[in-house]
């Protein structure tokens, strides 16, 4: 029971089952640096679960709540009596958890239904005024869930004398009144709509225990209330760092090329287009956007400047980091450039590996699990309520233009120290196979599209590839990489040709997505094994420079080959097989080696 709770990122909290949230909150021990929040909760619905959930959320977020929970349905008594427990508790925040269910009982007893909204607002504002007379606490007011009472069918909301009409009107009035009185509003109506009112309003539990909502949704509501409270303490997201490939556009720029990227008005392209529109809304309200992508910077800038369907352009990003280093050190570089605390960062990436790495290396950064379908990204962000904050201030917007034009990091930053350990713990397995009918389409795609991790950039045809696969004087293989986070598919393809006692590496292509995961070392080992099978004594590597493949310029030298002159524009490297010393690589190889000539 004394075991500490698992470390939770804040975005996870809305989706925890209530009993687990409460149990984990109970196991948090108080630390000296946990800021104290004195919160009084007053409700006209039951508040026990509410208080437990809010307390647990705040503890799991590193704060220490001291909650004063008033007796059920005693809002006016507590507020109007200067000697009440409410005021004695000396609250920093007073939460008024009012519900439409309680309001309905009042409404049904009111003769003048047309003025019910105005009268209710006046009653609420009077409570605020009294609170302000006796306390300096920030007032946190829940708005009302527009209920399911449809007495006039589709006409219901238009009729002021209906309860739905009155609640709709009251919510609208509350917005202006709250602004005028410096009160913060909890958008309970949104929460209920998001989760679905038929589920949110558990009327059984209202009847049994005066539950204003199904307790299943309290983690979500409490998380959103905690965002409001903590925003008053300066806790908020200031910067969104986005990955590019399959996060803000469809496809892999380095492999597919600009013209095949999915962004625009059709299908997946439209999903990404809409997501970019949403990111632009964030930027307009003062959230800083930054890019952290495994890509060639030149290609990224070209895409941002020249693709006709992009919404986000180069100037929308304060920092652009596009390289093949690990994302932990790249996000640290972005942090240095922006000079913001890591707690104010959100990192959005479709790749499980990158998310897990950043969570491990930078646990302060919010790294949510995006849905598999990009069409769901906007709703995901709504559920996590990551962007609590008021309208942008003039300084926010000025700060943005100050950053604009800042380009990628200049100084080289040391690689993230935990990377090797993280990669070693991934449980990577490689399935190695000669080219076959299943892999040929993917190999052909790699051969035709890959530019960066491509040593020779020979665009073989499908017939060529089939010939290599059938030729006893050649060896081919693909590597399919999986780990505990998922299957990365076929990420490398190699073709070896026997030339006398040499095995010449005709083609070596790898997906840049798996750089830094020691697949290169594994591939060298596999090349040496295949060269032996071909009866060769030496491996000859070829590097033909193009505009795009500088990334692998020194690849052979880095892996134990030595310089062996040139062949026209191609640089040659060689290694005697007997001098190859295998390294320990944390990747288990699956699948039988092909049977070769004896």
């Amino acid at each position: 029971m004394t075991e500490p709770p698992p470390t939770r990122q804040t975005w996870e909290l809305p989706d925890l089952p209530l009993h687990r949230l409460i149990s984990e909150g109970r196991r948090v021990t108080r630390t000296e640096d946990a800021g104290i929040l004195r919160i009084a909760v007053l409700g006209d619905a039951a508040t026990q679960h509410y208080c437990q959930a809010l307390g647990a959320v705040l503890k799991l977020r590193g704060w220490w709540p001291e909650l004063y929970e008033a007796e059920f349905d005693t809002i006016a008594q507590e507020v109007l009596d200067p000697a009440s427990g409410l005021y004695r508790s000396g609250p920093d925040f007073v939460v008024l958890f009012m519900t439409a269910q309680a309001l309905w009982h009042r409404f049904s007893a009111t003769a003048d239904k047309g003025s019910f909204a105005d009268d209710s607002l006046a009653r609420i504002v009077e409570l605020w005024t009294q609170l302000k007379t006796h306390s300096t606490a920030t007032i946190v007011q829940h708005n009302f869930v527009v209920p399911l009472n449809r007495s006039h069918g589709n006409h219901t909301p238009a009729i002021a004398e209906t309860f739905v009409g009155a609640v709709t009107q009251l919510n609208a009035l509350l917005v202006d009144a709250a602004a005028a009185h410096g009160v913060v509003l909890v958008d309970t109506e949104f929460q209920a709509s998001y989760h679905g009112k038929r589920h949110w309003l558990d009327e059984r539990l209202w009847c049994q225990a005066r539950q204003g909502l199904s307790p299943s949704f309290l983690p979500s509501l409490a998380k959103s209330v905690s965002d409001l409270l903590l925003a008053e303490r300066g806790v908020c997201v200031k910067c969104v760092v986005v990955d590019l490939d399959n996060t803000i556009w469809g496809g892999i720029l380095a492999e597919d090329g600009r013209d095949l990227i999915e962004i625009g008005q059709t299908e997946l392209g439209l999903a990404f287009y809409r997501f970019q529109l949403f990111l632009l809304e964030l930027k307009l309200r003062g959230v800083i956007l930054a890019i952290c992508s495994k890509n060639n910077e030149h290609d990224v800038v070209d895409m941002l400047d020249n693709h006709p369907d992009m919404i986000l352009r180069r100037n929308d990003f304060a920092v652009i980091v596009a390289n093949f280093d690990d994302k932990v050190s790249n996000i640290l570089a972005i942090r240095d450039k922006l000079n913001l605390g890591l707690e104010s960062f959100v990192f959005l990436d479709d790749t499980a590996f990158e998310r897990a790495l950043v969570r491990k290396g930078l646990p302060q950064v919010q790294v949510p699990e995006l849905s598999e379908d990009p069409a769901d990204f906007i709703a995901d962000l709504a559920r996590w309520n990551l962007f609590e904050g008021r309208a942008a201030t003039a300084e926010d917007l000025a700060r943005l233009s100050y950053y604009r034009g800042e380009d990628a990091r200049r100084e080289i930053r040391a690689k993230f120290a935990g990377l090797d350990e993280f990669v070693a713990d991934l449980g990577m397995t490689a399935e190695v196979k000669a080219f076959d009918g299943f892999s040929l389409p993917r190999v052909l795609q790699l051969v035709n599209r890959s530019n960066q991790f491509n040593l020779t950039t020979i665009r073989h045809t499908e017939a060529d590839l089939q010939r290599f696969a059938a030729d006893a004087q050649c060896a081919t293989f693909t590597v399919r990489l999986a780990d505990r986070l998922g299957d990365n598919g076929i990420i490398a393809a190699v073709i070896l040709r026997k030339a006398g006692s040499d095995a010449v590496v005709d083609t070596w292509i790898m997906s840049c997505r798996v750089l830094g995961r020691r697949v290169e070392e594994l591939t060298v080992q596999l090349i040496v094994e295949r060269a032996k099978d071909l009866g060769c004594a030496r491996v000859v590597g070829r590097y033909t420079p193009t505009e795009k493949n500088a990334l692998v310029e020194n690849l052979y030298l880095q892996h134990g080959f030595s310089d062996a002159g040139v062949d026209g524009a191609t640089r040659l490297y060689c290694m005697d097989i007997q001098h190859y010393s295998p390294r320990t690589i944390p990747i288990a190889i699956q699948g039988a080696r092909p049977v070769t000539a004896t």
């Binding site: 029971m1 089952p17 209530l18 009993h19 687990r20 409460i22 149990s23 026990q48 679960h49 437990q52 059984r204 539990l205 009847c207 049994q208 225990a209 539950q211 199904s214 307790p215 299943s216």
Partner: protein, 80 residues
Amino acid sequence: MRDDFIERVQNVFREVFENDTLAIFNEMQAKDVKGWDSLAHVNLIMALEDSFQVRFTTREVMGFQNVGEMLACLHGKLAG
């Protein structure tokens, strides 16, 4: 009622009451379990509903006199 059904229900009890050794039996009532107050009761009902994808009516919830009745009601919903 099959053992694996009772075991699934028991696991929900164990999670809600945070007691890994809790063993349920038909005559068991709230007074027999540490922490089974009205709040925990709501949590228990919600957790059972979530875990078995069922919904108890108000009358059913009000009628449960012991764990056995709860099990019988739940089992009836799953069978039907």
